[in-house]
Symmetry: D2
Subunit: 379 residues, 4 copies
């Protein structure tokens, strides 16, 4: 981002800079395009689960999902540091990631479409919903991770009897930056289902093996990653030393190529055992965290963010962070989505451990939400 | 980019949208993140060579390049469609590409640094300058293409007796969007030169062969692509049918991996023979054109942009365009830089030919520069 | 393989051919290097489990494994069609694969070495043995699949109280053909163990997720694939339609890259349900089958090979084959190793389904072992 | 290759080994499959140009090329160390490479076919011949390098008025070892020509740039590499330090992917300046050298092989070698083909410099051809 150098320019130069600006040019010598280290526009932030649910309850009263009505009942999270970009910007939770929470009532259908943005969902609460991704129907249960890679048809339906809530993460800010958004609506209100229910999940019921027909790389051989198998994997790690930063952590993979399950968006699940106090580090990729179980806090650039199940918080690029489980008896379980695949594709990923003070940041303040009376949506 | 849907909301909903905004959230149903087709912020635009040179002449009077003074005397091009992003934005010529023209006087030295942004230079005018890239000194001659891939040390010096002008293209808007800008200054005023002058160029003096020590992929085995060899290649094509859009066109490659010479930024050189009248197409990648020889015009989304040697014009993403050489006797030669490698890395590239009207757009207007009295640099 | 064309040559030509041969040259016109289809030297063959065990019992009486004695007590399988290549050849079970059965008695240690050939083991019988692969100790249990990729140190020890039997598969014929055999003996009688026992297995205890530290491709993040997790995966497939050729079949993968677990040698496990009668097909890769459970037969190029648990049989390249489970109540479980990764690396893999006779070959004869009194080992 | 260990076995063991052999099994403990270093079957060898031409002259008298007659008039080179493999073997010049010299008379047509083996040709002498590769006609001139990657249709014709001679190199021993030979005859006596003559060569007339339509990797964008452009490239190197082993050497590349021009077979051209005395090294890949100009010698494993233009000599895997130009005034020019791409595909390539005696082997003897009266072609 270009900043204007804080420097006393002569009147002649100031006049010249103005002339350049008038003519759609700029003076490189007076601009800062590159800094010694990344300075993300996004700030560390946290949205309380209660607040998100309260907003979705209002949305449920005011709006119905379905054909002829709204397509998706989702409230997205706007990083306060990027708020000035709205409505000109793109509603980013971080530099590259959009995050929202969606609610689908019994009987509602979110009709099918496809887009160049990648999408993933983490099921937070409720049973009975399902989604169809390119002709395969996947049922949603709490803790499941469901993928919708780019340009795959997808719709959602709730055939149960309670509202189902999930978090959506898409790479909208990234695809917006590249001006590569294509979108297509499906001509029917639902896709035909062409395979047995939970096809991919049945094909991947156990260890590190795959059906031989998935030998060729493909975008979504396994559409839904069940919570219980993931937890089984994490619990296997408990016999080993915990990672100093993340305790017991795994990432979801595409079994046809060993890459991230969702292509451009990485996804992970981690358990912090009781009283786990992680060390601090930072990296160029950014992260959206969804607290699935337990309670604790994360220190980001010296600010303590307390969290409990249902909360969502974001870690911008190159931001020091450390996680703590404050419970003495319960595990904390965090799901997270990241833009690491994008950063790695161009060699941008860097990581650094915090070495001072035994690896722990000094806590300078506690997080206070920045509610504004200056909403971008006021007319 | 999120637009607000043009829709009559009930007072309750309007109030709710405002409340969401206050709490750093947004209503997905009232936002447009994805459109059926890309809508670039950038607009087609052209900067006349005379204007650019005039600005650089002023800069030469007002500023000196060197240690203790300014690092680079470069005037960069601001796409009017992205101007509102300044100074908060990044000075993009297109969605991902920064472009500037730089002038280096005899005796001046632009000191060494390196950054995560990729850089390339196209030498426009003047002799006697040279650059050192990771210990290899390359002399600059008009028409040469010189690369500085990410994180390579580079400096420039003019040891001749005339001012040398070149165009710089970097992927600053892209690396800014990913918050991945690292920058490091070299501890000395010049890098040591570790190889014979024009080392890479001497190693690639002929056909499609390489020194066997360049068998392993590396970022810049050949640092400078000489104009005469490139023209020899283009002239070989003249015995074949011209491309309907681009006549005789080649792209610079890295001989160690067959990919684009500069990694994340593609570069091409093309000749339009006398009276060539290209057909229209559009693609998701964006382009910066530098007219090296000749004169003609390019129609972009129905607007005719006349150009001649020295002019620079930009093609945003997904914009219809067709090139015409108006001379009956002279070739036109265009150098261009593009973000195709970035688009391809994630499967974003799409292309479409214009099929109506024999492949030619209706010309609705002629380009008029939009000079503004409302410069972003006014204090 | 060059055959001499069956043709009546003139006396002058016959004389000329002889002269060429004398001078270390050959007449291309009189040779057949390429045929319309592959003609493998290897033939379909089967070794009965009882015979293999009988031979190993003799070897146990006559030889002891350990430092100062023999390194490995293994009996390898010689394809009769390649027998004439012994001792000049390489003891291939197929064109590229060596297969052997190894027996390790309680208290014996097979000392560490490493080689450029890839190795894998399938544990057939017995408990108490383990292997150390590059510093990680893996315990062996029946049905487990254990890998030793190229140039990894490996040794084996039996700390239990019964003999343990396993099948080794290596790509010795392939590495021999490429003259790329390097071998190094470890300076000590055992490697130090640097990680918790069964480290990799504990790190991969569940679904399609991996520890984040295995994000970078590496040769053996998971050294042993446990039988029970593999069977859990296969049983997940039973809700779906069986594969017409192979019923329920999975292949072992390296979770860091999605490629075959063992690099150059593929490995699979399959279940044929009771009364399964597979269809015939052929492919250019060759296979070594190890019958782990059940009984049935496989028809290869019209010959019926009956098998039961403990038997090993080989399928040469481009050979029609179909599998049948003759039991009405029990599953048959086949482990198999193949050279598909080698074939695919150069685009050599082709596959063809048998379309006549409902997809089933006519059975022309039953397999009879070809015991020879003309052993290559007679002095 | 399995050797039998030179060891005194007890009578019981000897009897047991025999029994195993009778039953198509072998004792691992008595076999040597892996050695500390590769021991190639192939030996260093040289065929004098005069001898090859003499043989081809006889072949010209005795045989005519064309439809209804023989397909190709080629005499192939049999490595004496692999001679015992004939006719069961594959006529290898090295472990993986077949080499032959072919003569085509004015008016003759070698009809089209295609095969899974890769082929390349180096034009040694004569003008007027040409080949059609997948619909592109390439004219042949001395010093040109022409490729025929796997499964490409190819035929040759001589429309001039002198006999044309070229060396063919194919990977027949390699594809034979993998049993992957497919061959198909073209239904007509000639292929239709679908592009302008020398299409690829015209598209690559200069420096390191390519037509943009060759951006996607393809097997043969450039079918013929002209001698003069290759020499221009080599001469560019002369301003730099010569390589200690190979003086001035380049390798032919595929401009669409930066890999070897012919996929599985590497090809190089090198100039040894007058009095150049290279140092010795060895590597796991094997090489066929064709002396195009000049005279000198190569020491291989202590034996001196004198050569001059027209001679062909072979370097087996892991063989010490050093090249010397004995002329005080003339350059020596060597074309060579190698199996490096095959070795690298599986990580098999290793290289070692000879460090004793200033990098030069002691010359123990001079090469004497091993003419045999025991030809494999005698009936």
């Amino acid at each position: 981002m270009a900043e204007i150098k804080k420097q006393q320019w002569t009147p002649e130069l100031a006049e010249f800079h103005k002339e350049l600006g008038d003519k759609n040019m700029g003076p490189l010598w007076a601009s800062v395009f590159s800094a010694p280290e990344p300075k993300p526009r996004a700030v560390p932030y946290l949205w309380k689960g209660e607040l998100i649910l309260e907003m979705l309850e209002k949305a449920k009263e005011l709006l119905k999902v379905g054909v002829g009505s709204i397509d998706r009942r989702a409230v997205y999270l706007i990083n306060p540091g990027m708020k000035h970009l709205e409505p000109h910007g793109w509603g980013g939770a971080t530099q590259t990631l959009y995050a929202a929470v969606q609610a689908l009532n019994p009987g509602e259908l979110a009709p099918p479409h496809r887009h160049m943005t990648s999408a993933m969902r983490f099921i937070m609460k409720g049973k009975g919903a399902s989604g169809v991704v390119n002709g395969v129907k996947y049922t949603f249960e709490p803790g499941d991770f469901v993928i919708t890679p780019e340009w795959c048809w997808h719709d959602h339906v709730n055939e149960g009897n309670e509202t189902v809530f999930w978090m959506d993460v898409l790479d909208i800010p990234f695809t917006s930056a590249l001006t590569s958004s294509f979108l297509e609506m499906y001509p029917e209100s639902r896709q035909p289902v062409e395979h047995p229910v939970d096809f991919g999940t049945k094909r991947y019921a156990g260890g590190m093996v795959r059906p031989i027909s998935d030998r060729r790389p493909s975008p979504a051989p396994l559409g839904r990653y069940k919570y219980d198998l993931t937890i089984q994997a994490i619990d296997g790690l408990k016999e080993l030393e915990p990672d100093p930063f993340d305790a017991y952590i795994v990432e979801y993979i595409n079994p046809s190529n060993g890459k991230d399950a969702n292509g451009r968006i990485g996804a992970r699940m981690q358990k912090l055992p009781p009283k786990f106090k992680g060390k601090a580090h930072r990296h160029t990729h950014s992260v959206v965290y969804n607290v699935y179980k337990g309670s604790g806090y994360t220190v980001m650039n010296g600010v303590r963010f307390d969290w409990k199940a249902g909360d969502i918080f974001v870690l911008p690029a190159w931001t020091w962070h450390e996680h703590v489980n404050t419970s003495g008896t319960e595990d904390a379980v965090l799901f997270s989505a990241n833009d690491l695949p994008i950063m790695e594709a161009f060699g941008f990923e860097r990581e650094e451990a915090y070495t001072e003070n035994g690896g722990h940041q000094e806590i300078k303040s506690e997080f206070v939400p920045e509610y504004s009376k200056n909403s971008v949506y006021i007319k």
